[in-house]
């Protein structure tokens, strides 16, 4: 089947290195679908990369699996302690967001790749200071689309509001974004087109959505010139 990655590489050969990644899925035993099945389905839906907590770095059914570590801690000290244990350089380190002070501190820690779960935090917990830090340190902020799909009513409205607030800051400070489905089943996975459309609900433009989908694939080994440090 012709995937988006294939279409892009045909139309724009220079963009063939671009990846299309779901920034967090939870296969069996956390979910009801095996990693292989998720990879097969993800490939059909247009993805070429999946970020999987606790997995090993490998390629399944043509889909690159990026291992991840999710750190959720109440204090910065806890997060810092866990960061020093999991910094193997091969895993994407994702930290669950919290209060404003916590987020500001976490964004200054070395080794953090993604700040996730912002829709569960209070309003203003990710402010312009956090946005600037995230942009300067190339730390991505994750947009979890599962509340848009699986929740209705006030909680969904709150999530939409938080994402819209995030987009306003993104348009000003241009920090990195990732998009994740947090799928625990193949039935929770959505196609790339669907994700781009869902992201338009909170004001994310199509180009930004494509950029966000490409981010996770480059966070561990960011593209750019080699710098001589000594």
């Amino acid at each position: 089947m012709e995937t988006w990655a294939n279409k892009i590489s045909l139309i724009f050969p220079i963009l063939s290195l671009m990846t299309v990644a779901d920034a967090c899925v939870h296969p069996y035993p956390d979910g009801n679908s095996s990693l292989r099945r998720m990879a097969v389905e993800a490939r059909e839906l247009g993805f070429d990369t999946l970020v999987v907590p606790g997995a090993a770095p490998l390629t399944v059914a043509g889909v690159r699996i990026i291992p991840a570590v999710i750190i959720s801690g109440e204090s910065v000290r806890t997060v810092s302690g866990r960061l020093s244990k999991c910094g193997d350089g091969q895993s994407l380190v994702m930290v669950e967001a919290g209060e404003k002070g916590f987020n500001r501190a976490v964004l200054n820690l070395r080794g953090v790749h993604v700040l996730r779960g912002l829709h569960r935090t209070r309003k203003q917990s990710f402010d312009h200071v956090c946005a600037r830090s995230a942009a300067e340190r190339s730390i991505a902020v994750d947009i979890d689309i599962s509340p848009l799909i699986h929740i209705t009513g006030t909680p969904r409205q709150r999530a939409l509001g938080r994402f819209a607030e995030l987009m306003r800051l993104h348009n000003r400070y241009r920090f990195l974004l990732t998009v994740s489905s947090n799928a625990r089943s193949v039935l929770h996975l959505r196609s790339v087109d669907d994700i781009v459309l869902l992201c338009s609900l909170f004001g994310m433009e199509e180009g930004d959505a494509w950029e966000a989908l490409a981010t996770a694939g480059h966070l561990i080994a960011p593209a750019g010139p080699v710098r001589v440090v000594s």
């Binding site: 679908s33 095996s34 959505r190 669907d194």
Partner: protein, 161 residues
């Protein structure tokens, strides 16, 4: 009475969506209710009335919906938020949008039937499941039992390990 000339008729758009997992038991009415609820909860009654969705055809593994022109984008978004129809967990994946049914019917995916032999019993993780195998790698497992049957989505390689 003369029929309305084409220029005065309401312009419609048709959306083809596939239904996963295969062999789901939801009927057309349940699917319509699921789509209508999803659309109303996401965009409200006013927008849903403007879009006026209708399920006009459903078959094994696919569904065709009709909406007013200009509403197809919102309907596609609403389709991706459908997670349940009746008592079945499912996903509707929009595949194509067209102005004519004829063009859309040509794009209905051919459903690969489950491999011959009927559902077989397999053991996985210490439990007994009914396995439904599809062409290619996919295997769906449904736990044997009366209620709260667990569904697992695996591949042939997972079962062989």
């Amino acid at each position: 009475m003369k029929p309305l000339p084409p220029t005065l008729r309401t312009k419609k758009r048709y959306i083809l969506a596939t239904i996963e997992p295969m062999g789901i038991g939801a009927d057309q009415k349940e699917l319509y209710q699921a789509v209508s609820c999803a659309l109303t909860s996401l965009f409200g009654d006013v927008r849903a009335a403007m879009i006026s969705p209708a399920v006009i055809d459903s078959g094994p593994g696919h569904l065709i919906l009709r909406c007013t022109r200009g509403g197809e984008r919102d309907l596609r978004i609403a389709l991706s938020t459908v997670t349940v129809a009746g008592n079945d967990a499912l996903v509707l994946r929009p595949k194509a949008t067209s102005g004519t049914l004829h063009a859309l019917r040509r794009r209905i995916p051919r459903v690969a039937p489950p491999e011959p032999g009927g559902p077989e019993e397999v053991s996985f993780g210490g439990k007994v499941y009914c396995a439904r195998r599809y062409q290619g790698q996919k295997v769906d497992l449904m736990e044997k039992g009366i209620k709260s049957q667990e569904l697992l989505f695996l591949t042939k390689d997972d079962l062989e390990e």
